[in-house]
Point group: C3
Chain length 343, copies 3
């Protein structure tokens, strides 16, 4: 069936457009796979409100159209869905927190999806100097600005944001209670669902299945990332309610898939580095949660973006060392690979 | 007359220095034109207090001298005024909010103007990797630090800053009242004046005339940008007093001139992209206004800088498509032009 | 003796490891010298609590081991201690403010030291595009995140941080009192000690001696930087208690050594530029102190990092001008040297 769909998508304009949209949905977790994207959308429609699900879909479609018609990006990236996934996330992110007088909120989501494409082009151009992907940084940037702006725009309504408060030291002992297995299971699955801002365990299961359709390794690292994020948060005494909603899982999920199952070759070293990165993502999640309290906005996927950049920018050599005489490591002192390649 | 001044400026050291200063003033809105700069200064002296006008002039002169004597920048950029405009803005920006015991405030402005040149050199060197201009980012960076510092330095007085507050949701309905045409006209023109932090409609008119002397297109996009910024803010219910002072206009003015009339060729596509950029600038203005409330400092021109970078970094292909057989778009997948050019 | 230690460090694995650690300690103030590093550690153990001193040492050792075993950095940088100094600072910085249930706080420090190496690799790769060093930015980034996170993690205790407050205008007159010479002397020396977060005058003296062992010029610029930072702060009326603790000195110390005695050739122009940079570092220190009040965390060495980048990125031509016919300055308009070199 996959083959016949691929043939159909090559020939017809309509199927090709649908195929591009679905791949865009799949790219939220790095999968260039239309079936994964379809299942992601199914998980969104299952777990999110209709307004959020429609806004996510509209963001995906608008961003893809903007990339094709207005920005004229290269065809390969476009067809892989690389200009759609930030639009989908902007749609979901803005709609989760912003409502308004009919047309205005829809215009707001549309504007965000359009700008996400320019942001993706700009950030990709910058990061191309180090052959490093923009990840979901366009979504984080555009959505942060739009959520902040919504505080000051009286014709848009906000729900689920803030109130803005100054950070204070967490009360000790709140995490001392015994943790029920069901609590842990739910938090674990919701952690995967929260990648699309959805705190729903069933949606989390659908997302894992969607990943497995494309890559068993990605599905495993998603589950591993959510568990590591949750475990790190509990070990250091993070807010239990936040852990229970999967809010310490989603960024670690993305970090684990990116570092462990996407941008480095499979190896024991890669798995080890991905685990360190996932643990630190949970710490950065806790830190940015505190840092954004005075602004009353969520971190979105920024902990994933920052930590994954730290682990991708050095272009680590994580392939297994072959059983052969060792050669000197071809690093120049403190110089990145790009600079060497450029001269 | 323009010709004879140009001849004079080539021969004499004094006229050449004056010419460099005036071009520096003109570069605040991207015009390498001494008459435009002269009219900008006239608008400043008309609309601002004497302390602010003198500080702006001193910032311009000090920064230009620093670039010539201390930093030894290239002569072409220096003569075009590219090392003066951030000094002028630092002078105006610091003096608008900071006062003090005679000598100290003057020393503070001077220090800011000197450092603006190093900041311009540093940020230009960084952004040269993507052939993208630093815009007013040196001003924003230096002035933000100096305004924040003024809170903690008891021998400098602050006025018009803060108080720092936590963001709260804007009260609905404040913008429901009918908008008088005179209110709109004043806000429209003040939006142009606020590029130099001056909420004065006459100054706004002088600035538009100053632009028209150098470029009709720049003048038109300035008016267009102010209107779009104001209109977007009103449509989404931004604070009416802020709109009336032109505070949603000035960044959109700069974005519109930069994207629509400076860094891309004239075309219908360019105009369309400039409009989208100006609309989004107003949203980012609202967002950064909220984000800086807990710090008690203004955004300065940062919304312009961030949004314009988003639209310049991709090096969009906005020239009209010739009526000839289409050739493939020469973009490499997700790679910026600079990187391609470098290899 | 130095020669025999160098010979010993070349041959034995144990002495070589110790030599690498000591050079790592020395690199906090840019000295690739094991004796300087040994004296730095002596100053830390003299002035800091045992928990902080041990954490700093552990951070140094863990980071160096991570660089060697996990990240596989180039040998020259590793042996120079360039992958150790951020780990030492992360250890000192986290331990100064975070305590906890035995094992947990130790694990927290260890995690920070490990991640500091990935951060150093990432930021060095980015900045290599402009042949500019990462300085202590990996420490600032990792330590900021970990201090912020500690607010939200109830099984870690915080002391000496916060409370988070909104900025308010400094009361005038607090700095009007006559300044006793002893106050100034102590503040001057503590300013050097605070480079390692230690407000102790004897430690400051030890650090100056440690620098002099490696470079008289570096020792002089450290003392000069502390004096300039303190003097600037007092001139503009900064909080006297903060000045007395050396908190306006340490970033200016680092800026002065970096700009005046490390990255530019010795010359009168270099000294002048280093003084301007040190003065501005004190202003940025005041500004970032205010900016971080709502988050309840200290600036760490970020004022040094930001200002020094501004003065290093332009690759200023500060060598004395030879007494020979002048040639045109070989700058391209607004382009950094790297870009010219890359084409």
């Amino acid at each position: 069936m996959a083959t016949s769909w691929a043939q159909l998508a090559e020939r017809g304009r309509g199927p090709q457009a649908v195929d591009t949209w679905l791949r865009g949905a799949g790219q939220v977790m790095f999968q260039n796979n239309p079936l994964t994207g379809l299942l992601f959308l199914a998980g969104i429609y299952w777990g999110a409100s209709l307004w959020v699900a429609v806004a996510a879909t509209a963001g995906l479609v608008v961003a893809t159209a903007t990339a094709r018609q207005l920005v004229r990006v290269d065809t390969v990236s476009l067809r892989s869905g690389l200009y759609g996934f930030n639009g989908l996330l902007v749609g979901a992110g803005v709609a989760t927190f912003v409502h308004g007088e009919g047309f205005l909120a829809a215009a707001y989501v549309t504007l965000g999806a359009v700008v996400s494409v320019y942001a993706m082009s700009a950030l990709s151009a910058v990061l191309a100097a180090w052959r490093t992907p923009a990840l979901t940084s366009p979504f984080v940037l555009v959505c942060c600005w739009m959520l902040l702006a919504a505080y000051g725009l009286s014709r848009l309504s906000i729900s689920g944001l803030g109130p803005a408060v100054l950070p204070h030291v967490a009360a000790p002992g709140t995490s001392a209670a015994l943790l029920a297995p069901l609590f842990l299971l739910e938090a674990w699955l919701k952690g995967v669902g929260q990648v699309f801002l959805i705190g729903n365990a069933v949606t989390g299961v659908i997302f894992v299945v969607a990943l497995a359709v494309s890559s068993w390794r990605a599905a495993l690292f998603a589950l591993l990332g959510s568990a590591v994020g949750m475990g790190t948060a509990l070990a250091f005494g993070a807010n239990r309610a936040a852990v229970g909603e999967g809010l310490y899982g989603f960024s670690a999920v993305l970090t684990a898939i990116a570092v462990g199952a996407t941008f480095y070759p499979s190896s024991v070293r890669t798995t080890g580095v991905a685990l360190v990165a996932a643990v630190f993502t949970a710490i950065v999640q806790a830190g940015l949660d505190v840092a954004l309290q005075p602004l009353g906005i969520p971190t979105l996927t920024s902990p994933f973006v920052f930590v994954t950049w730290l682990f991708l920018l050095p272009h680590l050599q994580l392939a297994p060392v072959p059983h052969a005489p060792l050669t000197p490591v071809p690093h120049a002192p403190l110089a990145g690979p790009t600079v060497k390649g450029g001269t």
